[in-house]
Amino acid sequence: MNTLPMEYGLLLAGILFVIGLVSLLIRRNIIFMLISVEIMLNAAGLAFIVAGARWAQPEGQVMFIFIITMAAAEVSVGLALILQLYHNLKTLDSDAANLMHG
């Protein structure tokens, strides 16, 4: 059973992470920014799975379960924040939220 070289999997994870990072930097729609964070978290989990498969150890998958838990908690809180932002500002533009009440 010849295993796939680890570099390809890590390269895929790196490409996906960079796509998510670039999207996070250039988009101003706040839901797109949340989606970009999800892509980046998924790429990080992919890197853990690749590393776990390289040495055939379950630790990589354990870390992926933790990452997926964290992503679920993060997206619920983030969507609640988006609902509040839209309720207050009537827009999804993240630049609109640059003023403080005070």
Binding site: L4, N42, G60, Q61, V62, L83
Partner: protein
């Protein structure tokens, strides 16, 4: 069999690029689901079938549906019936459909191929993951439980609409 990994990886990168270049949120989410499906096939070829199932259930199932619910709740006004009609044109869903078909053909090939090396590396089954998760990493499981509890409380607190408790008399004098 290395080809399955590379095709799934290409589909994942292509779908993710399509996600970040879309202007319509629903179209982006359509490609996002395809991206998660492709990464799930990558997990399968890497010998993590349990994680492939979790990826589909949690990411493509729960998280994307949650985002779609919020988009529906926001009730964006400029997207009216005409937009709804535009969404059903074939050129919108033909891209995700083709990419999903590639993944489906790949999955059928993986299951029907009689070669013993279905996985690209030694598979780690769910049992080993569970033994490790509740053995040395049980503290992490408890911390995850606390994190999820904090997420529930935070989402409830933030998502609650502020209810104005104003007496009828005061409301009339204000207006």
């Amino acid at each position: 069999m290395e080809l399955t990994f590379f095709i799934a990886a290409a589909v994942a990168v292509l779908a993710t690029i399509m996600v970040v270049t879309q202007y319509n949120l629903i179209h982006a989410l359509l490609y996002l689901v395809v991206s998660f499906l492709a990464i799930s096939v990558v997990f399968f070829t890497l010998g993590a079938p349990f994680m492939a199932a979790l990826e589909i259930i949690i990411y493509a199932g729960a998280i994307v549906v949650l985002i779609i619910f919020v988009i529906m709740m926001l009730n964006l006004t400029q997207e009216d019936i005409q937009h709804e009609k535009e969404w059903l044109k074939p050129r919108i869903w033909i891209g995700p459909a083709v990419l999903s078909m590639i993944l489906l053909v790949e999955l059928v090939y993986i299951f029907t191929a009689d070669t013993p090396d279905t996985y690209r590396s030694t598979p780690v089954e769910a049992q080993a993951v569970g033994m490790s998760l509740f053995g040395p990493y049980v503290l992490g499981v408890q911390l995850s439980g606390m994190l999820l509890m904090a997420g529930i409380v935070g989402a409830y607190h933030l998502g609650r609409q502020k209810k104005k408790v104003i007496h009828r008399f005061l409301e009339r004098t204000e207006a």
